[in-house]
């Protein structure tokens, strides 16, 4: 439906993943840090411990610069990257939930204006007023979380929305409740790492140092345990069966689990160490903890995104950006069936008809069929796979590319157009793959391009591309 942006050097999906992971880290931090700071500020006010304000001031400046503003920018970055990578997926979300996002925007404005008011009014307003600002920050941050979780969880479990078409059913979907509590709990380990980062940067003789480290570590450990318990006993059981199967397939590389589990163990051990030995905490450890958390979040968020493969919106739209199921409640008819009959070329706005393809001498492609095949492969596969040299980089003699079709086909010994064609014809049989759309001629063209691509990447193959 739209032009495809494959990515440049790096696959478009990886841009989304990196920006999203950073956004999750920053935005989760703002929520739980606001609650932790509220807790400390209450103690400062009601137990008359003014020393705590020094920590709060430093934490607030860090949050203002790093978490709120960079978090906000990364939030916009998610819009930009998802729009470029999969516009129709984000379009479905926006047309369902634009006014929920508008509501989140209010909460977000409260957060950003709130942190400015909070930071710049230290010592300028009376303690009770300042404490109220802390309350507003904590509540506003939690409001943003509450709203965004409904939209995020919709993608995996649209629930009754598939029948009613009502946004409320899509929003309060089967995984909404466990996910909101799980994420809320998970924010506290991030906050604990943040508190460590801030307090270890303060003078050694700062009187509240140990108390803050212990409190933050305890909260972080508690949050981590609660989050794991929610995942095991609440979130996992309500996950769709399909997603549970995907978890055990090769769609999620083993390294992802290694990163996630290692991240959880390292976080647990680090927080326990902080709780038991607050005096031995160093800034470098805290920075390391933030990196560990980033890696674990990256792995977890990638896994969450892959769980619903091959759909971009489970049960409604597949990764090729086409609607594959009717939605009678909204008068929507599936698009794929028609395209199988008419063919993709010329039926969608940015897919030229074969006769419109005129191969210039400098195109780098051997013939017209391969050029047409490339267009179709890009259209149907580029959302998840590396389909050309454009999104691959070579480092230390290693070709780095996201789920490269050239590599996958080569590994499965499907290196000729015929073998590739039978392979892609049967691809819908895999749990994490969607059937290829198009006519017989279009499948032929796709197979020829993929043969050409395999030989580009693995030139040791003896076959030569025939000038068909």
């Amino acid at each position: 439906m739209y032009p495809i942006w494959e990515g440049l050097f790096i696959h478009s999906a990886m841009y989304v993943a990196v920006v999203s992971a950073f956004h999750v880290l920053a935005s989760h931090l703002t929520v739980a840090a606001a609650w932790f700071n509220l807790y400390l500020e209450r103690r400062a006010v009601y137990e008359n411990r003014p020393e705590l304000y020094e920590y709060l001031r430093r934490s607030a400046l860090g949050l203002l610069v790093f978490a709120y503003v960079f978090g906000a920018m990364a939030g916009v970055g998610i819009w930009q990257t998802t729009t470029a990578a999969n516009p129709r997926g984000i379009s479905t979300l926006i047309h369902n939930f634009v006014l929920y996002w508008g509501s989140e925007w209010y909460m977000f404005l409260i957060d950003v204006v709130g942190i400015i008011a909070y930071y710049y009014s230290f010592g300028r307003v009376d303690p009770k007023t300042h404490l109220r600002l802390a309350w507003i920050l904590a509540l506003g941050g939690t409001g943003t979380l509450a709203i965004i979780v409904g939209i995020l969880s919709f993608k995996l479990t649209p629930g009754l929305w598939l029948d009613t078409g009502a946004s409320l059913n899509g929003f309060f979907n089967p995984t909404f409740w466990p996910q909101i509590f799980m994420r809320f709990a998970l924010m506290f380990p991030i906050t604990a790492a943040w508190a460590l980062l801030i307090v270890t940067g303060m003078p050694k003789d700062y009187p509240e140092r140990e108390s803050i480290i212990r409190n933050a570590a305890a909260l972080g450990l508690g949050g981590l345990c609660v989050a794991l318990a929610i995942f095991i006993f609440w979130y996992y059981p309500v996950m769709p069966e399909h997603a549970k199967i995907i978890l055990r397939t090769r769609a999620i590389p083993p390294i992802t689990y290694t990163v996630i589990f290692a991240g959880i163990i390292a976080t647990f051990a680090g927080l326990l160490f902080a709780f038991l030995s607050p005096r031995r905490q160093r800034r470098l450890l805290a920075i390391g903890a933030m990196f560990v958390l980033f890696a674990a979040i990256f792995g977890a968020e990638r896994t969450r995104e892959v769980l619903r493969k091959p759909d971009i919106i489970a049960g409604y739209m597949s990764s090729n950006q086409l609607v594959f199921n009717d939605l009678p409640a909204r008068n929507i008819v599936r698009e794929e069936q028609r395209l199988n009959e008419t063919g993709m070329l010329g039926s969608l706005p940015f897919l030229p008809r074969p006769e419109q393809v005129i191969l210039p001498a400098n195109s780098g492609l051997p013939n017209q069929t391969i050029a047409i095949g490339r267009t179709l492969v890009v259209q149907q596969c580029a959302s998840c796979h590396n389909v050309s040299q454009q999104t691959a980089i070579t480092a230390f003699n290693q070709r780095l590319a996201l789920r490269s079709l050239a590599d996958l086909l080569y590994l499965r010994r499907a290196t000729t157009a015929d073998l590739i064609k039978s392979r892609i014809r049967a691809i819908g049989g895999f749990q994490y793959m969607h059937p290829v759309i198009g006519t017989e001629e279009e499948l032929n063209a796709m197979a020829q391009y993929l043969e050409y691509f395999v030989q580009q990447v693995h030139p040791s193959q003896t076959q030569t591309v025939s000038q068909k």
Binding site: P87, V98, W105, T129, L168, F176, F350, Q356
Partner: protein, 401 residues
Amino acid sequence: MNMTVGEMLKMMRDPLGAPFYPPALQVLLIVTWVLHIFFVTLALGSSLYAIWGFVRPNENRLRLARIAARLTPNAVGLGIVTGIAPLLFVQTIYDPIWYASNTLTGFWSISFIFVVMGGYSLAYLFYLKGSPDGKLLWSAVASFILIFFAGWIMHVLAAVSIRPERWIEWYAPNGIVDTRGIIFHAWNIPRLVFLLPLQAGLSLAVALTLLAWYFRHNTDDAPFMQWVAGVGRQLGLVISPLYALTGLLWAATEGVEFGIGWQTGTVLGAVGIALTVYFLILRRPMYDAPRTLLIWIGTLLIVGMVREAIRAVSLARFGYSVASYPYIFDWGSILVFAGTTVVGVAVLAYLVMVIYQSGGAKRDASISPRVDRLGAIATGMLGAWFGFFLLVGLYTTLFLK
């Protein structure tokens, strides 16, 4: 590909339609864009002034440059946050053109945020480490360039979006698709100059008069603040005629291209001339700053409508209009948005009042009882919002089948 551009645009619309009356979303788009462009142009203007103040220093200029250096990152932050709302609404009612321009320019579309992050970081670096002693001026210059470049990217995205008749030629010349998204396909220099550098100067001019007004009761600072307000007026006076002239050039190029040359020329020219006259007769820039702000916001609103008119006529050529965009009344969306709007406005009003009342004092500022009462109510409303949210959620989960 034998389909017409009109058929193509229609097919590209999301089948779900909008969840509310589309012209109302169009109004929200314009209004929130005004807020966004004010902060973005203010960031550019203050960034440029900070550089100027350190390059050609005198006592007052240096002091103001430090204030500008502090203002820049905050304005960038607010520009980003306020940019989210128009981004939401443009995707809803103009999805075909927004998504097409973003994919056609994919590399720059995703680079945008890294460019802004770089600009923001350097602006903060200059404010924290450079501006006290005038060091690290390079970071201020680099920050300005990056923020301006981010503006250029957004300008190109807008320019590409209103020229759907050329998308195919840009995406698939000779039928061969180009999926790199690295080419800047369209732009209009008068429009860019009008919307960014000139409006940056005017937003800064308005902000300077406001700064002076805010500290008007501080007698120790009176000479400096008088000077600041005067700079604001002078800036407005110099830029406004250029604004009128560039507006005419914008009308003569893009306006004419889409068949509304004289209409846009009349409006933009008149706005520029009216601003010139206003700054000319502005005798007390410090005390009349709130009125100046109102006039500037009104001007931005008119410019927002002109932008919208250009977009509308460019798409009307192919039968696309917001008024005919399919929609339903999605009551869940409306309920959540309306409830949050009431709470959000109350809390934001309180926060702005706290910033306003505490900003002038070094310490122990007094928050008026009225604002304090507003704070108690607004915080209570924010707490109650969770009850509302929970109730809606439980009702949906248990009863809405």
